[in-house]
Symmetry: C2
């Protein structure tokens, strides 16, 4: 299995490779990133990934086995064993904890960050087509730094967080509303916007607020694993809706909520046509349901006419619009927002306020408000549009030219990744993927975003890759036989 | 009624007093801070509070009435009417929304930030004994600014948020663990610490994780309203436990979870004696329950021997310890943490990850880690201890000397506020409080933290007040007859 380790930060902390690996692996087990019973990478794999000797890795595994964090089956590998064997002064069986029903569902859900990418594996020189990463070199670092510094000085005024900030810093909400009105033609105002800690907080709060026990909730298939995890945790009943080349296929679902990505289906990139949008809204109206529009990646349109958000068509106040800055600002900045129908503002703010009566990131909210209202955000977007447009065209051309026998690229007009179906068998895909990895190229393939037995596909993120790196990656792939 | 308005920020935004007041009042109604049907302040009160003419306030109320946000009963005042009258293209009755059961509970809960304080009312010169506010003048602003700037530069490296950061930035967790070991004698390690967005996020997640439908949850009476709101939202059954001069009175509750403040009961300040601590842990052991120790205000001990946290006595892994930086760092910084029994780490991290797969405040977490591991935090605490110690002694002395006929100060050794019972009737208290307010002194009295019909009390926060302001405040109170 592939394992994300915080090896580098532990190495900085502990100084020795042995200790760093020990703590990094132990942490994945204690925190449940590696579930009980899951197989850990072989010592050979781990040694190769982190540039360690196999002896070091074996020593670490031995120590973890002695402490009961892992078990070693003879000839069969190493397995996470934390739950059963880490006996100590505490009773360790989970049953004795008696979590709430919600707690049980959350603990069971094997959510992982579906849009994330394993940055730990592969060599230093590997070309990683990781989706959703912006270009670092072109970001206006100085301007953003000035905004952050100014916001830090505001914090030093030592005042208590604003009374209203559970909904989000007002100037930021106003800047977002102005941006949505100007760039997307949306009927947006600050009163209906709530700032969230990334789009996932918005998704999880909406699922919990609207989807009760056994309520049907429509999710796209394939789709984003975070949405499925949020619905499952809330106790909702997942209603998977197939996606074709035009996006979600609208049906008369028995459901009271639907999560959709009409602007650019995740992960296929399909744009939902007008008739389907209207059918979706008609369905919501008939059933008294809400539709959550997750607009995760629509800032960059490379060709074709602009597509209005679904929210613009909504006459009945049935659409909740989710936006994010994760694709346009430094990825570490976790700021998202919802634009709500008026009647959902109160319940949503109450839900947000329960967890965060004062917001956790007022400093960054303030900096972003200044960055937007000073015109720097729009200027940055215009510049990135040109840069990303060139990379988009280059990557699409190269995939079609050099890899058409392996991948069928799905046409797309926007975004920071290209989606392609694998043309062969699952077995052939697995072999090819591993061979490419060995040759120093990686991409994302949905992994847990997918139902088991799905048709293999690849997401090629290009936002962060200079043109020569894109060329290099595709050339390496073309050489793999 | 008392109304917190974001008047100043709206004034900056809109420029005119009329527009600022209009938007500020409308926002309180739309976001539900003023619930449907609640009476708004009279135009006279509002005019006095914000230094406006009554004509301006009446104009604003007329406009809001015309738009359906308020209704005016003849001679009886102005009432929030948003839900019924703000008719438009959207159906507005809440029943039609069909929230989840959780959503219904959250929307019903009239949680307000129990530890907050109305900063908007009273004149500019008023002495405000607001609890929980640190001293601005003594904060090492430059050192903290340097930490924030360095953390901002880290963000500009444009990397994706650390894979493990759902649990919190590792160096911060290690700095917290070292601090707890050194200053509190606790058995703490980074693996069992999760960083949260303020202590309320920890409280709400724990309630939801552990208290299922109709599970009994012990809460202190009087106690923190945020805890009650979290338990109610989770669907738990509130089991109020009386507090006497020594803190919570332990009984054989039918419950699976208890929220307590043994280090310094909120709000009375009582320290739980050893026998009661042992009884509490014995109860938890017998019932298989968990005890959440909310250590909201224990950094500053002014006299007497140090009290170990309840967590130190815990042999069975039944105590969850919650700490916060809200009393020692700039109040806008919302960073709290939990130290969990090992077996709760996985479920808690899973719960946190559902809402925030990447943390919302990595920049500030990184800055705080540097501030702590560089020794600046400890040095700051030592310095503040001296300053707060003097203010504590001064305020206690003055209250006993000048106001003993009105307030009975409860003895206390620590913290940033003094608690005192009112010696007279509720009616007399209300009159005295209003007269003091007119004379330019305010304090907190729990408000919604209390059950109806409770005995009046006052919390005098002194952390942020220089000694001359403390004297001034008490002198004003002594002059009120």
């Amino acid at each position: 299995m592939e394992l994300q380790l915080a090896y580098q930060s532990h190495l900085q902390r502990y100084g020795t490779k042995y200790e760093a690996l020990y703590h990094a692996v132990r942490e994945t087990i204690v925190t449940g990133l590696v579930p009980y019973g899951a197989k850990l990478p072989s010592s050979r794999e781990l040694a190769a990934t982190y540039g360690l000797s196999r002896g070091t890795v074996n020593q670490v595994y031995d120590m973890l086995a002695a402490e009961g964090y892992v078990t070693a089956g003879v000839g069969s590998g190493t397995f996470a064993a934390f739950l059963e064997l880490k006996a100590g002064r505490e009773a360790t069986d989970l049953a004795a904890i008696r979590l709430s029903a919600w707690g049980e569902r959350v603990a069971r859900a094997t959510q992982d960050s579906g849009r994330a990418f394993s940055a730990a594996v592969g060599g230093a020189d590997a070309v990683r087509f990781a989706p959703g990463l912006p270009d670092a070199a072109s970001f206006p670092q100085r301007e953003w730094a000035r905004c952050l510094y100014a916001a830090a000085r505001e914090q030093l005024r030592m005042e208590r967080a604003e009374a209203f900030a559970a909904q989000g810093h007002l100037p930021l909400r106003e800047a977002i509303a102005a941006h949505l009105r100007r760039s997307r033609g949306m009927d947006a105002d600050a009163e209906r916007i709530v700032v969230t800690g990334g789009s996932m907080q918005a998704i999880a709060l909406l699922a919990q607020l609207l989807a009760g026990a056994d309520d049907g909730v429509v999710v796209e298939e394939p789709g984003y694993s975070g949405i499925r995890a949020a619905v499952a945790a809330a106790g909702g009943r997942l209603v998977p809706a197939p996606v074709d080349a035009h996006g979600i296929v609208v049906q008369g679902w028995q459901a009271k909520l639907a999560f959709v990505t009409p602007g650019r289906q995740y992960p296929t990139g399909a744009v939902l046509p007008l008739e389907r949008r209207q059918a979706l809204l008609a369905w919501a109206g008939q059933r008294g349901a809400f539709v959550v529009e997750d607009d995760y990646d629509s800032e960059f349109r490379h060709r074709g006419r602009p597509v209005e958000p679904l929210q613009v068509l909504d006459e009945e106040g049935r659409v909740v619009y989710i936006g994010t800055f994760s694709k346009t600002m430094p990825p570490e900045l976790r700021i998202g927002f919802v634009l709500l129908p008026l009647r959902l503002v109160r319940p949503f703010v109450a839900a947000k306020r329960l967890f965060e009566p004062h917001p956790a990131s007022l400093l960054e909210q303030r900096a972003l408000a200044a960055f937007m209202s000073g015109g720097m955000y729009e200027r940055h977007l215009r510049r990135m549009k040109r840069i990303y447009g060139r990379r988009f065209a280059l990557l699409g051309g190269l995939l079609r030219e050099k890899l058409a026998d392996r991948f069928e690229v799905v046409p797309s007009d926007a975004g920071l990744h290209l989606f392609a179906w694998w043309t062969g068998t699952s077995e052939a895909y697995g072999l090819y993927r591993e061979a490419c990895r060995a040759a120093g190229v990686e991409w994302s393939d949905g992994g847990s975003d997918m139902a088991p037995g799905h048709r293999p596909f690849a997401c090629f993120g290009f936002g962060h890759l200079p043109e020569e790196r894109i060329r290099e990656g595709i050339e390496r792939m073309a050489l793999v036989r």
